[in-house]
């Protein structure tokens, strides 16, 4: 299978660098799969998960907002945080989820509501990645 170079960069570290066969990530329009030789593209990524197929095996990680630069033989993803399932603190995510839900109930205005929705999305995505070690594809 054809491989291409994937790099995931966060302000804190280089999360991933290596040859991969396929990646799937979430954009505002839905899931997006990338194979080698994809058209040059810059895509905004949503909070959610990213699945990477390397050496025939799928791995899933949590990813927060970011964007992706796709070239024919290379993909670079910029994001604020990216975590493998084993790095995710489930208790903290659970707590963040509860807090966000609570805040949404008592939100005073749209701005506050939106902000907590984002926190909720982040917590839910973390929990989802943590709980589903095998990607569902």
């Amino acid at each position: 299978m054809d491989e291409f170079l994937l790099e995931i960069i966060t302000p804190e570290k280089q999360f991933f660098k290596g040859m991969v066969q396929q990646i799937t990530c979430q954009t505002s329009d839905g899931e997006l799969g990338i194979l080698k030789g994809h058209q040059t593209m810059v895509a905004a990524l949503e909070i959610g998960q990213i699945s990477i197929k390397a050496e025939g095996e799928w791995k899933t990680a949590f990813i927060s907002v970011g964007f992706m630069e796709v070239r024919r033989d290379e993909v670079v993803i910029f994001t604020q945080t990216c975590e493998w399932p084993e790095e995710i603190d489930a208790a903290r995510a659970e707590e963040a989820k509860k807090r966000a839900l609570d805040h949404i109930k008592h939100a005073q205005n749209i701005k506050e509501h939106r902000k907590n929705e984002i926190s909720l999305a982040r917590a839910m995505a973390r929990l989802k990645v943590k709980n589903s070690r095998k990607p569902n594809m």
Partner: protein, 291 residues
């Protein structure tokens, strides 16, 4: 004649202080190194982020990219974000950055003031300025989480037009001996900010923007701001620890000097006491012999 037990007590106290200052020196050295490592990583991230942003900016005409973050300087309030430490014992670090902040704030009349760091908040309050927002905890543990929190807050204020300019006053880390306070504009982003970006035209083919150029740029701008803030709090933390390192190194040196002089004093006093005792004994035995 000085009291020998008093001198010993003094020596003991200085020795203990030296131990503390030396420990703080070692601690701040390792903290500084940690912040410096993070600055490096973030630089890579920022460099590539800037390259992509420049790519979009250079492709669009002013009118095409109707973005609230770029090229907008209508008369609104200015926001000054001042970054200091939570703890003292770091030489002139806090006062240097605070003085620069005061100078800028005076130029702008009545700007919105945000303070990150307990020392800065204290200094503002003592000058009769109540910061519109204050945080602490960054100097001990600067994190991307905090950067995001602050970045989102700033972007929000900017987006709803409460402020039209955002400046951060912080201490730039030049090297372990030199740190200089600077005032940096964070928003609005100007086209000329990207003039120095090394730009390789890596997309020879037509670039597809998903979902579209506008959305991509709108998502990038806040991330860029957060990245910038992360860099700034890391630089501040490196500077603070470098300043503390120098201060503590000097304190340790001074303590060493004091220990040396106190030991000398104790020894000479002890010698004096012994000499006196011998003289007394000799005198007494002479008197006895005479009797």
């Amino acid at each position: 004649m000085e009291n020998i037990s008093e001198l010993k007590q003094h020596l003991h106290a200085v020795e203990q202080t030296r131990q503390i200052s030396n420990a703080m020196y070692l601690l701040s050295t390792s903290r500084m190194k940690k912040s410096m490592r993070n600055i490096e990583y973030n630089l890579t991230y920022m460099r590539r982020l800037r390259a992509t942003m420049k790519d979009i900016i250079s492709k669009t005409k002013r009118s095409m990219l109707s973005n609230p973050y770029i090229e907008l300087t209508e008369g609104g309030k200015a926001l000054f974000f001042v970054i200091t430490s939570d703890k003292g014992l770091c030489g002139g670090y806090n006062s240097a950055v605070f003085n620069l902040a005061m100078e800028k704030i005076r130029q702008y009349g009545e700007p919105v003031v945000y303070s990150l760091g307990l020392k800065g908040t204290e200094m503002f309050l003592s000058r009769g300025i109540t910061p519109d927002g204050s945080w602490y905890g960054a100097s001990q543990r600067p994190s991307i989480y905090l950067a995001r929190l602050l970045g989102e807050q700033i972007v929000e204020l900017y987006a709803d037009r409460t402020v039209s300019e955002v400046y951060i006053v912080y201490t730039e880390y030049v090297n372990s001996a030199v740190q200089k306070p600077v005032c940096k504009r964070v928003l609005p982003l100007l086209r000329r900010d990207f003039a120095d970006v090394e730009y390789e035209n890596k997309y020879s083919a037509e670039v597809l923007y998903e979902p579209d150029m506008q959305t991509v740029f709108e998502q990038m701008a806040p991330q860029y701001v957060i990245g910038m803030i992360y860099d700034i709090i890391m630089q501040s933390s490196a500077s603070e620890n470098a300043a503390r390192m120098t201060a503590m190194q000097n304190a340790t040196k001074n303590a060493d000097k004091m220990i040396a002089s106190l030991t000398e004093q104790i020894n000479s006093v002890r010698q004096l006491v012994i000499t006196n005792e011998i003289t007394e004994i000799a005198a007494a035995s002479q008197v006895q012999g005479a009797v």
